[in-house]
């Protein structure tokens, strides 16, 4: 097992620059998820780590060794592909044994290793079948099996769950987390699904437009997003961003006026903004509650899920707003409601999208 360090990796396809100077230090035995919208360069970055793609500049270090020019096998990585990439003409056994056949391992060695992988992944009774005879989840496990027989230092996963249906995805998520624990390996996982990122990762890399927006634990990203992009990307439903005007900045915090005239004093570092500046106040739907004074919105759509009622509405100035309210909240579609939020739960972003640091944020969950 090993650490993985990326030192200012850049990648261009012709004139298009898809990765800008990315540096990351990933610890031994860590489960790191690259997350971001499609086209953010997360898969390209993974392929560069795998050795399938060459970086235009920069270095890759695995376990302290520079492997920038090494073959995937010499890097000690193995990869699980989005489409599983199983060989349809070979049995499950042969699929899992493929890397070992390449290494020309003895039949006995191979049997032991394939058996061990099959045990871990509950594929023992499926070894003689062809991939075509397996369900999606089983195929995924065969693909994982093929990656673990070689005992790699680092596992790379390229959106491995995106081909599965929702229920199975939930199960596989748990299985992958368990696998990470039992293998005790460094894993790098690419996904566009922030739920997968939040549930499985030790730390998350949020990528946007080929740049690292933020690298931190899930709770760090949730409570202390560094940018507006991270704030709106992490969390379900997405964070609301309400335009506001700065009315005052002092030691107690930042005074803002929301659309509709509601005044709030938010406990954030206010050094970079001045009175009269336009900012955006971020409120997570789950931190919003029905109140007497606050932001007035008109309810457009109400989704009652039982436990919660997801309420979609628009404020007076047309800003869309989403609130996650109690399941039995007395609200009706088409009627106006007044929503409030605790000042310490609010985030403030300046014009460039950077966050104003919160003073009274919840303690970090490690």
């Amino acid at each position: 097992m090993a650490t993985l360090d990326l030192l200012s990796i850049s990648k261009s396809f012709g004139a298009a620059k898809v990765l800008h100077d990315i540096s990351l230090a990933i610890n031994d035995k860590e489960f790191v998820v690259f997350v971001g919208p499609s086209g953010c360069g997360k898969s390209t970055l993974l392929r560069i780590i795998a050795g399938l793609e060459e970086s235009t500049s920069g270095q890759i270090m695995i376990g302290g060794d520079d492997v920038s020019d090494a073959h995937p096998v010499d890097r000690g990585i193995s990869m699980v592909f989005q489409s599983y990439a199983l060989y349809p003409h070979l049995s499950v056994y042969e699929n899992i044994a493929f890397p070992l056949r390449v290494q020309k391992l003895s039949q006995q060695d191979m049997d032991t290793r394939v058996q061990r992988a099959a045990d871990i992944l509950q594929l023992t009774d499926k070894l003689q079948l062809k991939p075509g005879q397996l369900s999606g989840g089983q195929r995924q496990r065969v693909a994982i099996g093929r990656s673990i027989v070689r005992n790699p230092k680092i596992f790379l996963f390229d959106e491995p769950l995106s081909n599965l249906d929702a229920a199975l995805r939930g199960d596989m998520r748990v299985e992958l987390s368990q696998l990470h624990r039992s293998l005790d390996a460094t894993m790098v996982y690419v996904t566009h699904d922030q739920v997968e990122a939040m549930t499985m990762a030790d730390r998350i890399v949020v990528l946007n437009g080929g740049r690292v927006e933020q690298f931190g634990t899930p709770m760090e990203l949730y409570h202390h997003p560094k940018t507006k992009f991270v704030a709106s990307f992490i969390g379900q439903p997405n964070m609301n961003l309400v335009p506001a005007t700065v009315t005052g900045a002092d030691a107690t915090g930042l005074g803002v006026e929301l659309p509709g005239g509601c005044q709030m004093t938010l406990p954030v570092e206010a050094r970079t903004v001045a009175v009269g500046d336009k900012v955006e106040v971020g409120m997570r739907p789950e931190h919003v509650h029905l109140g007497k004074a606050g932001l007035e919105i008109n309810v457009n759509v109400l989704e009652r899920l039982g436990g919660v009622s997801i309420t979609y509405g628009t404020a007076a100035d047309g800003t869309r707003f989403c609130a996650s309210l109690p399941g039995d909240a007395r609200i009706d579609e088409g009627a106006p409601i007044t929503l409030g939020a605790a000042p310490e739960d609010c985030h403030v972003f300046d014009k460039s999208g950077d966050v104003l640091r919160r003073r009274s944020a919840p303690a970090l969950v490690a």
Partner: protein
């Protein structure tokens, strides 16, 4: 329902199929009919479609009229088989390279291959004759095999390349990540998956080789023992008369083995030509 037709449409469809099949099969049927009757019946006037004394006599006599007939049939299959085998040896790595590797002049050379295809062998007969004479290959099997291979490689590359391109790249990447070399990947992953495509290309090349051997045989080969069937059939044209019935019988017998093989490969042909058209 997209595949539901009215009665009238069905009638139309079957009518069209019938016309098409008649057009294709009538020559074979006429060959068969001609082979069944005595020679003198063939020149009867008015022409009679049905004779009362059908027999398989011509199928017996033809081996006597042309004693080397069996040899000609085997030659035909041997030459076409050799051409197919050799062509595939060249085409497989070339098509894989064109499907997967990036190299300078890739598209230009592909275009040139297509251009070569537009020449028929006939245009190049005289230069080819000189080349083969210089190499001392005239009047050998090679004089019919070498030009055959040369003319079929471009077609083969074009056909197989498009098939190989449909094999998901991720499979090869997975093999690469697991440490497999290009050749190992080609042998263990790509070729087994390309079997339907290989059969399609093999069959296409075989048909091509079978069809073009006549031209090369009568130009580059004088040795009777080496002639393929299409050239050998000339021996049924005698000084006095042409034994049409025996010639037709010989032609049918000569084509028969190939037809039988095709009957068995038919399902691969259909599967191969449509494979990859729809995402599974």
């Amino acid at each position: 329902m997209m595949d539901r037709y009215s009665k009238l449409q069905m009638v139309g469809i079957y009518f069209a199929i019938t016309i098409f099949l008649i057009f294709i099969l009538l020559p074979f049927f006429e060959m068969f009919m001609a082979s069944l009757r005595p020679l003198e019946h063939l020149f009867r006037s008015p022409y009679q479609f049905w004779s009362d004394d059908f027999s398989f006599q011509a199928y017996r006599d033809m081996w006597v009229t042309v004693p080397l007939l069996g040899r000609y049939i085997l030659n035909s299959i041997f030459i076409a088989g050799m051409v197919t085998g050799l062509t595939m040896i060249f085409v497989i790595p070339a098509a894989y390279a064109y499907a997967r590797l990036e190299f300078p002049f890739k598209n230009l050379t592909l275009g040139i291959f297509l251009g070569v295809n537009m020449f028929t062998g006939a245009v190049l007969l005289i230069p080819l004759y000189r080349v083969l004479r210089t190499m001392g290959l005239l009047n050998t099997y090679w004089s019919m095999i070498v030009p055959g291979v040369a003319f079929l490689i471009p077609t083969g590359i074009w056909l197989l390349r498009s098939y190989l391109e449909k094999i998901p790249r991720e499979l090869e990447e997975a093999a690469f990540v697991d440490g497999a070399s290009r050749m190992y990947t080609l042998r263990r992953v790509v070729l087994p998956l390309a079997v339907p495509g290989l059969i399609v290309v093999g069959v296409a090349v075989f048909i091509g080789a079978y069809a073009q051997q006549f031209l090369f045989a009568i130009t580059f080969n004088q040795q009777r023992e080496l002639q393929p069937l299409p050239a050998g059939l000339f021996e049924f044209i005698g000084y006095q008369d042409v034994t049409w019935n025996q010639m037709m019988a010989a032609a049918l017998v000569g084509v028969l083995p190939v037809m039988i093989i095709f009957l068995f490969l038919q399902k691969y042909l259909v599967a191969g030509l449509t494979a990859g058209a729809v995402k599974e």
